[in-house]
């Protein structure tokens, strides 16, 4: 079986597996990285949303062969030595989560949105976040948290966070 090398949450990893194995299952079943969740397996719920080279993507739709040589970040890699990412801080401050199952995907989608658009309007948030289902109905608090995170990111001194 081919070995696929990529960067996962800042660490190089090498996985021997068929090239067409969806990355979600490589993460969860092979590497034990369980932050990205299975919600549909066909890219319509967003529960597995993670980052590929800094952009939001769906590991359930991408075979591991595609990510070789790229950088994958899951919710587990979002906080760094300096602490929680401003989006995570905002999520706590707005008390967004209920069951929490969709929230890793929601947070990763929000981080990607704020990288592209540091000051999103409600309409921008609606456009960017509508591919992530939250069955508990936390949407109004997600929206508030994204605005709060935008403020935190703007006021944050120091290097640009990702």
């Amino acid at each position: 079986m081919p070995a696929h090398q990529f960067i996962l949450n800042g660490q190089p990893v090498s996985v021997e597996s068929p090239s067409d194995l969806p990355l979600l299952w490589v993460l969860r079943d092979v590497l034990g990285v369980t932050g990205p969740k299975y919600g549909c397996g066909v890219g319509v719920c967003g529960a597995c949303t993670s980052h590929l080279d800094g952009e939001a993507f769906r590991p359930c739709l991408h075979p591991v062969g595609e990510v070789a040589g790229h950088e994958v970040k899951t919710i587990e890699g979002l906080a760094d030595a300096a602490g929680l990412h401003p989006v995570q801080q905002a999520w706590i401050a707005e008390d967004v989560a209920q069951c929490g199952f969709c929230q890793p995907g929601q947070i990763m989608a929000a981080v990607a949105l704020l990288r592209r658009n540091p000051q999103p309007s409600d309409a921008d948030i609606d456009a960017a976040m509508s591919d992530n289902v939250c069955r508990c109905g936390t949407y109004v608090r997600i929206r508030s948290a994204i605005h709060r995170a935008a403020l935190l990111l703007r006021s944050a001194a120091g290097p640009q966070r990702r």
Binding site: Y38, I75, E76, A97, Q98, C99, G100, F101, R135, V140
Partner: protein, 722 residues
């Protein structure tokens, strides 16, 4: 000995109740037990004992324990599914013990018949447990204070507690951990063991963020399939196209030869494939060749079901005397899937004559009995250990435990642990559903616009309550006499809160072979919604303002108060642009009262909810933030099912397969705001989980009726077929 207790607050697998109790015995510290029940019980301290069996037999208790390191552990016979009970319990215990929220760990109890009720539902967790929890924690505090008084040889009444310490006026202080062992030997507390009065609260009632928020946002929380149970094989099941279809024959030779495949097992519900990864299990599942026998509902499609329901309504009853006019309303509601984000899942390990399952179940005792029966151990269910795991949403779906039964059977067949996951298609197409229904409401009007009668007849397929209300008796009744349990539940929960003369509400049960279950607010999600929509229709008939009509007829002071509050906060009757309108509705249930005011814009043709204003009287709101979250979420549920989410049945099969066609609302449909205002009439603890659904749905329908001039009667409104 403390190392028997893991560091983690709610570890999934390492935490064993038996070990915990053994640890308490081996190192006797303070453990306070209170009876769980409806009444505030007298808390009693467990005597330190060297006999583990004695503790094992402590009946039906709710435990608050203080460890020698000062941490407080509350054992909760309920499942966290996102409703925030872990946080609320932490707050109650921290309040009575005067300790920090971060010093309290909440553990979920395994299935255990000594708990009277372990069912998480009926909006009951806080209603049933707040009293016993407060009593147990207050008792623990009294014993800690008494222990300190003995140690220092001072009057207990002179001592205070704060931040997990007992303090003396002279400045001496002792941490609870240092006192825990002594406190266990206190026979008679020398300060009041009674809980605080609500006026003394500094934690309870304060808006408090979830205690598990950090674990959630870092991806650290563990759901069932995130557990690391050694050797557990990813497993999926090929299921029939129709509901409750069965396997006629299958050929697994291709599937068995595929990479990673560990085994293939036939079940009554399908054919299971276990593999090294879920991807491989799915691939092998798709390679199975299965011939299916159609399920018992394969002669039924939507139109047949609607006809059966309409036919069950029966002839009109005679109206009351003096009736001059009868106004009729007819309503149709669809089947609904609960569609929790986390699909049904279970990790099971069956070895020899014992089984262990990990799953996000809403009734662990029912799960235990179901798994035991499936394994042929109906008379010895104690062979099955059920660890309830935090669930990714429940909404009533997780009363049913097919995943646990399947996982146990597969594990036994393969001789190794399995990690069973339902696909999203499985979840949508093989669920237990909120049944469809048809309603006829007859309002009898008399001279001068008087309202003389209100007859509501609801035709609803029998709702399955095999779990009963969580106790043995009603569970048995629910399994043997499902129609009786269903009718009883209807009678207990369905009320009309208005002076409408002769009021009658009847359930016509229609037995259909389509699996059903409770859904958030159960019958009220249809009966209560239809009532509140038809109250608005009555107002139109009588040319009265819907708020004014309600105010004049409501029988509940609490309902009038919450209605007044949304009228005020939402500026009822304010001038709005054409195509924009407001709607209101109210509900009193689960010891709570609620009113919704919804503003909707129909100018684009597709209704868009602009804002929602909610006023709720839940008595004492233990965590106002938790209440707010529940009510906001229920409002999104109500909007989703009123507007766009509903199931279709085609020849015994569910058409919808995922969130692509089961159109639960997304961010772009969410209103700009969902305000929650709390009204507190007294300090009873009311239920919250289901409260926020029915009047949200009705207020939205009423707003649409006022904006378009047409009362919605078939749901979801945006379904062309409806």
């Amino acid at each position: 000995m403390a190392d028997l207790l893991p560091e983690d607050a709610a570890p999934p697998s390492g935490f064993d109740r038996r070990k915990f109790l053994t640890w308490l015995v081996a190192s006797p510290t303070l453990m306070v037990a209170a009876r769980c029940g409806l009444d505030l019980p007298s808390a009693q301290a467990a005597e330190p004992t060297t006999d583990p069996a004695a503790l094992e037999e402590t009946p039906l208790n709710l435990y608050v324990a203080v460890r020698t390191d000062g941490r407080v552990v509350a054992t909760l016979p309920r499942t966290e599914m996102g409703q925030g009970i872990t946080t609320a319990v932490t707050m109650l215990v921290a309040e009575e013990l005067d300790t920090g929220l971060d010093a309290v760990d909440v553990c979920t109890a395994d299935a255990d018949p000594r708990w009277l009720i372990q069912l998480t539902g009926l909006s009951s967790t806080m209603r049933y447990l707040a009293g016993p929890l407060r009593a147990a924690a207050a008792e623990a505090r009294a014993r800690l204070v008494t222990a300190a008084a003995h140690r220092w040889r001072v009057l207990a009444l002179t001592l205070t507690t704060t931040q997990g310490e007992v303090r003396a006026p002279d400045g001496r202080r002792l941490g609870y951990g240092e006192l825990a062992e002594d406190a266990a030997h206190v026979l008679l507390p020398e300060v009041s063991p009674l809980p605080k009065s609500p006026g003394e609260y500094t934690v309870v009632g304060q808006p408090t963020g979830r205690v598990d928020a950090r674990d959630i946002v870092t991806g650290a929380v563990r759901f069932t399939l995130d557990l690391d149970i050694p050797g557990a094989m990813p497993t999926v099941v090929a299921r029939p196209p129709t509901l409750r279809g069965t396997v006629l024959s299958f050929n697994a030779s291709t599937a068995r030869a595929m990479p990673g495949v560990v085994g293939v097992v036939q079940l009554s519900s399908g054919v299971a494939v276990a593999a090294r990864t879920f991807a491989q299990a799915f691939a092998a599942r798709d390679a199975l060749q299965v011939t299916w026998a159609p399920g018992p509902a394969s002669h039924l499609s939507d139109a047949d079901i609607r006809t059966r329901l309409r036919d069950a309504i029966g002839p009109r009853p005679l109206p009351p005397l003096l009736t001059t006019r009868v106004v009729e309303g007819r309503f149709d509601f669809p089947y609904l899937a609960h569609a929790p984000m986390e699909t049904q899942s279970c990790v099971a390990r069956v070895t020899g004559d014992v089984a262990e399952v990990w799953s996000g179940v809403q009734d662990p005792k029912f799960a235990r009995n179901q798994v035991a029966a499936a394994l042929g151990w109906a008379l010895t269910p104690q062979r099955v250990t059920v660890h309830p795991i935090r669930a990714g949403g429940g909404f009533g779906r997780r009363f049913f435990t097919e995943a646990a039964v399947e996982a146990a059977l597969i594990s036994r067949s393969l001789g190794q642990p399995v990690k069973l996951m339902w696909s999203r298609n499985d979840e949508m197409r093989h669920g237990h559903y909120r049944p469809a229904s048809h309603h006829r409401i007859l309002a009898s009007l008399g001279p001068g616009g008087s309202i003389l009668g209100w007859q509501h007849r609801a035709a609803i397929p029998t709702v399955e309550f095999p779990h009963g209300f969580g106790d043995l008796l009603t569970s048995l009744a629910g399994q043997v006499l499902p129609e009786v349990t269903s009718a009883l539940f209807f009678t207990l929960t369905q009320h009309v809160p208005y002076q409408f003369g002769w009021v009658a509400q009847e359930l016509a049960e229609v037995p259909l072979p389509i699996p059903t279950a409770s859904f958030r607010s159960v019958f009220t999600s249809q009966v209560g919604v239809a009532n509140e929509i038809f109250v608005d229709q009555l107002a139109r008939e009588l040319q009265r303002d819907p708020v004014e009509l309600r105010r004049s007829r409501l029988t509940s002071r609490r309902l009038k108060a919450v209605l007044d509050r949304v009228v005020l906060e939402g500026a009822w009757g304010r001038t709005l642009p054409p195509g924009v309108a407001q709607g209101v509705a109210v509900l009193e249930e689960w010891d709570s009262a609620i009113a919704h005011l919804v503003e909707v814009d129909v100018t684009s043709g597709t209704p868009r909810v602009l804002r929602v204003i909610i006023a709720a009287d839940v008595g004492l709101p233990i965590n106002p933030k938790g209440v707010e979250a529940q009510l906001q979420g229920a409002a999104m549920d109500a909007m989703s099912t009123t507007l766009s989410a509903g199931l279709h049945i085609d020849a015994g099969a569910v058409r919808e397969g995922s969130f692509a066609d089961y159109r639960w609302l997304r961010m772009k449909h969410a209103p700009a705001s969902i305000q929650v205002h709390l009204v507190r009439s007294d300090n009873r603890v009311g239920g919250v989980g289901e409260l926020g659904y029915p009047s949200a749905a009705a207020a939205l329908a009423n707003a649409i009726a006022r904006a378009t001039g047409t009362m919605p009667t078939r749901f979801p409104i945006l379904d062309e077929g409806a």
